[in-house]
Every structure is written in C-alpha cells, then in structure tokens.
C-alpha cells in the first residue's frame, strides 16, 4: 500500500516551511520515527519523523522549496501490503472468485450484461432516510482568486499565485498585484536564503529567511499595537560579583558555567511572583487582563540567522544553578539550530542580555503578547558614593520596558526596585 506523508501541522500556527535537507532518497528504506526531512519554519529547524515503516516511492520538493502544511513530503510503500492491488473502489476489492463479475448472455440480441459477484457490493447510503445532516469537515487551504490573465502572468514570471496578496474585489489577485509582487523580488520563495542576487549597480537583494520574516512581523506588531514605556536604572552588585567569583571555580570544575544572567533570571522570576501584573497579558478582544500562573522567562539569544527566544519554564521554582545549566543548554541548541517548538513556547516575560556584547542602556521592544521586557547592559566599574565616600562600584545597567496599557509607572518602578534588591544582595533570593 502506498501512503502519502504530508507536511504535518507541528503547532504554533506554523503554515509553511522550507526544506533544508532530505534524509531519504527515492528507494531508500525508512523506519517509523526515523527523520525524513529537515524543515525550517519561522520558529525552529525541526526534523520531521516518518509515521510509517517502508520504502520511499516518491519524494516531493527540493532543498530550498517552501511548502505549506498538508503538502505531500514523501510517498511511502508500506511493507507487506501489495502495491498495485490496493485500489479503494468497492467493486475492485480483491475477492474470492465468486465475487468476480460475470457476463450474462440471457438477453440475446439486446446485448450482454455484466453481473456483480455475490460478495461485491457498494457501501450503502443514508440519504433520504433520516433528517440529521452530518457536519462536513472543512479544510482551509488557501487558493488564490484570480482571472486567467493574472494566473498566466504569474506563471510566466515563475511565481506561485497562491502566495501573492490580492488587492482586487474580494481579495482577487490582479495583474497589478502580480507585477508588483514580481518587482519586490523575483521568485522570493524559491531562492535559498544564502542566494542573493547582485544588481548591475552593486545593490544586493537577499530574500528574508523564515526566522527574519517572523522577527519582522513580531516587531512590527509590537511597536504598532503596544504603547511602550521604558525605565532605566543602575544597580551596584559588588556582593553578587564577589559571590559569583567564589562559586565560579566549583562550576567550572564540573564543566558548567555560572553567568550573571542566571542570577538575573532568578531575580526577575521572584519579582514577577510578587508583581503578577508584569507576568500578565492584555486580551483586547475580551477586554480583560489575563494573569498567568506559570512564570516562564524567555532569553533572547543572538544567532547568525537572527534573534531566537527559548524559554526557561517555571523559573521561580528552579535553583540558580539549574537556571544556569538551562541557559547554557538553550544557548548551545540555539547556535546549532536545534531548538524545538517546545523550547520556544509559552514565554511570559523576556530578558535580553545585550550587555554580554556591549551597550549600557537600551529601549527593548516587548515580545507580544507579553507585558514587559528587561534589558541587561554591560557590567562596568564606576565610582559610586557609599556612606559619604567615593568607592569603586560594580554597576549593572538595567532597562525595563512595559506595556503601558496594563502596567503603570508606579508598579513598574516597584518591580524594578525588587529586582535590584535581589541583585544587590543575592542572599535575599535564598529566603
């Protein structure tokens, strides 16, 4: 039997993905659970496992192609089931000889009639007997509305008309839309991300990667819908610096890494526990604030392809060392492009640790639908006044941005004060 394996819906609203690498060829055998293909979606790079054991009969799509959820990936010849015989028409089912049609010659001059065998009959129907109408399952695969002339134009340009946004009546793709789409970029989806075209004047046009597309979309939504408000602070953390330097050798001996970020995650998680509005989100459709019980801290990680934000779940319940290990694990996965959907789901607050590269203060943009984001700047030695005397202080710059629709200035600064308190005196986090 042939089984067509389609690109599955892997959740998170993903509708399309790009083929990065095939693990199978036509004719190769595959076991259930073995990876079939490596797909890049706008969230992750994921291996798609085979649901069946068998032989690959057909492979659809080439490396670099962008395909939609439910498009076929491969056709698998399933072992132990005869290929050609599996025709799913009732009359065609393999059956004992008595079920085969025979010809009845009783009618002489009026012809010969085929007669169904004893065991071969069509499935029955319910129509006209009961009044209950069965709800039909509807699929929503987007197919473009377009006139033949627009379709012909798209075909000539090598564009997939289903990907061109239509501006005509009822969302119809017009000739103008096709021409406009072509001007923006030629064959944008068919080009691998690394393929850039250089124009005669030296301008380089590079199609967006899936990740970059997602970032662009999210940042636009955030800035256009959320009124951002930012507060900046400097916190003196010599106690934390000293504490960390005492613990660090022990961690390093075990091949682990104890970063300041781990302390910051813990401090934020504990502060969120006390200031739940910063861990909430606004639901405009319901005119409601949704308070989230789980405190899941997203960590913004810079990669070659762009920003990814893996999540540390229930950070308020984790020890600082467990958080440190988790951060290291996520950073490795991010750089190897091995993050899975589950690693990215469900964040309720984000920390961006840009200071690891440089910069003191910034105005971070909220990761929607979250309520706030904390930016951590570069740790610097600075003169500070302590008990009337100028001493050398270890100063960590903090930048907090909140969604001003649900968080006011008072709560913002109280929350920030709480974080600073934990960072100034890390022993408070133990209590």
């Amino acid at each position: 039997m042939r089984y067509i394996f389609k690109f599955p819906d892997i959740g998170e609203g993903i509708t399309e993905g790009k083929i990065l690498e095939w693990y199978v060829d036509k004719g190769s055998t595959i076991r259930e659970g073995d990876p079939v293909v490596k797909m890049e979606t706008d969230k992750v790079v994921a291996d798609i496992p085979s649901p069946k054991t068998g032989t690959i009969a057909t492979r659809f799509g080439n490396v670099g192609d962008v395909i939609n959820v439910d498009d076929p990936l491969v056709e698998i010849d399933i072992e132990g089931v005869a290929g050609a015989a599996a025709v799913e028409v009732a009359a065609e089912k393999p059956a004992p000889p008595s079920d085969h049609a025979v010809e009845e010659a009783n009618f002489g001059v009026v012809g010969t009639l085929e007669v169904a065998g004893d065991g071969a009959f069509l499935p029955s129907s319910q129509e006209g007997q009961t009044t209950s109408a069965e709800p039909e399952e509807k699929k929503t695969r987007r197919k473009a509305l377009a006139t033949p002339v627009a379709r012909a134009m798209a075909k000539e340009y090598g564009l997939d008309i289903n990907r061109i946004p239509g501006t005509g009546p009822g969302g119809r793709v017009t000739k103008k839309d096709v021409a406009g789409f072509r001007d923006i970029s030629t064959k944008p989806s068919a080009l691998p991300a690394s393929n850039a075209s250089t124009q005669t004047d030296g301008t380089r046009v590079e199609p967006l990667s899936q990740i970059r597309k997602a970032i662009a979309r999210n940042m636009t939504i955030s800035k256009q819908t959320i009124p951002h408000m930012s507060v900046f602070e400097d916190v003196e953390i010599s106690h934390l610096v000293e504490f960390r330097s005492r613990q660090k050798p022990r961690f390093e001996a075990e091949g682990r890494k104890l970063t300041y970020l781990a302390f910051a995650v813990k401090a934020v998680a504990l502060a969120l526990d006390r200031h739940p509005i910063l861990n909430a989100r606004l639901d405009m459709d319901a005119d409601a604030i949704v308070y989230q019980e789980a405190i899941n801290i997203g960590i913004a990680i810079d990669t070659e392809e762009g920003l990814v934000v893996p999540v540390i779940r229930y950070a308020n319940h984790l020890s600082i060392s467990a958080i440190a290990d988790k951060i290291l694990e996520m950073a490795d996965k991010a750089r190897d492009r091995k993050l899975e959907i589950a690693d990215l789901k469900g964040g309720t607050f984000t920390i961006t640790n840009f200071g690891a590269i440089g910069g003191l203060h910034a105005q971070p943009i909220i990761n929607p639908p979250q309520a706030a984001i904390l930016g951590i700047g570069r740790l610097v030695e600075k003169p500070v006044v302590e008990n009337g005397a100028v001493v050398v202080g270890q100063v960590l710059p903090l930048s907090l941005t909140v969604d001003h629709r649900i968080v006011d200035g008072g709560e913002t600064t109280r929350f920030l004060n709480q974080i600073m308190e934990y960072l100034r005196d890390p022993s408070a986090m133990l209590m």
Binding site: P72, A91, G111, L113, G128
Partner: protein
C-alpha cells in the same frame, strides 16, 4: 436493508408505489407478462393485476400519448420505453404534450408522467440499444431528466419521480443494471430530484459524471490517488435541473474540473457542466475546464464499442492534463 442490484432496486420502488398509490398504472413493451426485457417489472403484474400492470402495443408514440391522457384524467402513469433508442417515435408526444400540457393550460392541468428507459452503451448491443439521449430531453423545457448510478439512488430517485408533479424522464444505465450491488432499505424513502451527490471528496480536481460513468470515474480516481492526485467525484443525478450549488462549491475548492459523459460532445451535457463551473467558479479556476464526452458519431456496433466507451485510463489521462496545465 437488503442487498439489491439496480434492477431489483427499481422493481422495489415500482412495487412500493403500486402498493400505496391506487392511481398508478405501469405499462410498456413486454412489461406485463414478461416482466420487461431486463426483468425490471418482474412479478408486478401477478401482484397488481392486468388492469394496472400490462403490455402495450409496439408503438412508442401510443405509449407516451395515452400516458398524457391518463395523467390529465387523474391517473399516475409510469411507462417504459424498452430502449432509449426506441423513444424517437414518441418524441412528438413527449415534446408537444407531456412537456407542455401544464403551460398550455396555464397551470390547470399537469401531465406528471414518469417515462423510464434503459440507456447507454457497454453491453455490446446494436446502436439503437446503446445510445445516450439525455441531452435531447434536457434541452426540452418542462421535463425533468434523472439518471441514477447506484441501486440506492435508483430507488430513492424513482419514488420521488413517480410522486413528482412534473413529468420525469428516468434514464437507467443498463450497463450497471446488475453489475453493482448495494444494501438498500426495503421500505419507502426518497431522494430529492434536483440534487447532485458527492461520491467521494477530494482536494485537487472535480470530476462530474453520472450513470455508468461514475464507476469508471471511481477507477480513474484510484489511479489518480496512486499518483498523489486527490479527486472529488460528483454524481450529477439530475441532468435537468442541474445542481449548480454543489458544482460551484466543489470547483471553488479544487480549482479544476472535468466533465465526463458517454453522450456526444457537441451541445451536450458536458458542455453545460463546463459552462456552469466557469460561471460559478471563474476566479478559482487553475486550468481550463475539460470535457470528456462521446465522439460525435453514431454509437458503433459491438466490434467498435470499446473504442467509443471511456475507460479509466482515458479519464485519468484527462485528469493528468488538467493537473499538468
């Protein structure tokens, strides 16, 4: 429920209506004593007597003409033309009277006659025994034209036809008279006369057919499935009026349409289906709608019949053409 073939399902419908409608009469050539050349009316004369189930003279014009008179006088005649090719002498009665008594009397009288006839090729008979004339009837205003493709539909549609206030031309695909069996309720049920049926849902292409061609389309769809093409098959069932809604919804979804008929291509039912699909789903079409209709020739003698009749491979070829456009 009882397993029936088309012949038995039609017989069951006639039996039920004769039993519950005392105004119904059933006649045609050999329909009485003999039970019809295809045994469709077998046993009915014995059961309901010579007064209600009887043999007519070999005169099709008289069969149709007397039926008009009986209908106007309040009876419910169900008549049989032995083969659709034999109906031609009755065409004047059918077009001039059966189809237009209601209009001519400004709605005072109706001639709700049901005219049954086996039609279509594939049984290696002579050309008058194998023709498909449904387009000729569908072109005449005032007639309903119905063609079943399964025993279940045959029974439900024929009961509706006999009960209809309109004259109905009920054409029976004799090639599958005994070739398809299905569980059919023994009791009375009806299927609306003007609805098409989605035989199997699909995503990539809509194939519209009726009668004996449904089975061939199912075989072609199985071939297509092996090639990764998902075919939606629509059984038209009512040649007039045509269920535009079902066709429109399907073609809007798939974007491609193939109409398959045994009858000749020019000015035929397939042309009508292509027109309707285009009108209903113009903006969704991804390829020009195609017709796979009969050749514009007289139905060949048995020796040449296999060249004329559409086989699954030919239907699949058309599906491929649409997919590769």
């Amino acid at each position: 429920m009882k397993v029936m073939n088309l012949v038995q399902a039609i017989n069951s419908a006639l039996d039920i209506k004769l039993n519950e409608d005392p105004s119904m009469v059933l006649y045609g050539e050999d329909t009485g004593v003999e039970g019809g050349v295809f045994r469709v009316t077998e046993g009915l004369q014995e059961k309901y007597g010579e007064g209600r189930v009887f043999d007519s003279p070999l005169a099709e014009s008289a069969i149709a003409g007397t039926a008009v008179g009986m209908a106007v006088a309040g009876l419910n005649p169900v008549v049989e033309m032995q083969f659709s090719g034999f109906v031609l002498p009755a065409m004047n009665q059918i077009i001039s009277h059966v189809a237009r008594i209601r209009n001519r009397t400004r709605g005072k009288l109706t001639s709700a006659v049901t005219i049954r006839m086996p039609y279509g090729g594939g049984i290696r008979a002579l050309e008058h025994h194998s023709e498909s004339l449904e387009a000729i009837f569908a072109h005449v205003p005032g007639l309903r034209v119905v063609i079943p493709s399964t025993p279940y539909d045959a029974k439900g549609l024929l009961i509706s036809a006999i009960e209809s206030e309109d004259p109905v031309i009920f054409m029976e695909p004799k090639r599958i008279y005994r070739a398809i069996k299905q569980e059919v309720p023994e009791e009375r049920f009806t299927i609306p006369l003007d609805t098409a049926r989605v035989v199997q849902p699909g995503e990539d292409i809509t194939v519209i057919a009726y009668g004996a061609m449904i089975r061939e389309c199912q075989k072609a769809a199985a071939l297509a499935k092996k090639n990764g093409i998902s075919v939606e098959i629509i059984d038209l069932r009512s040649i007039f009026p045509i269920d535009r809604g079902t066709i429109g919804a399907s073609v809007k979804k798939t974007g491609r349409v193939l109409a398959v008929t045994e009858s000749a291509a020019t000015c035929g039912v397939a042309s009508e289906l292509v027109t309707i699909a285009t009108e209903e789903a113009f903006l969704n079409l991804e390829a020009p709608p195609r017709r796979l209709a009969g050749f514009d020739t007289i139905m060949p003698l048995p020796k040449g019949e296999n060249y004329y009749m559409h086989e699954p491979a030919r239907i699949f070829y058309e599906i491929r053409q649409l997919m590769d456009y």
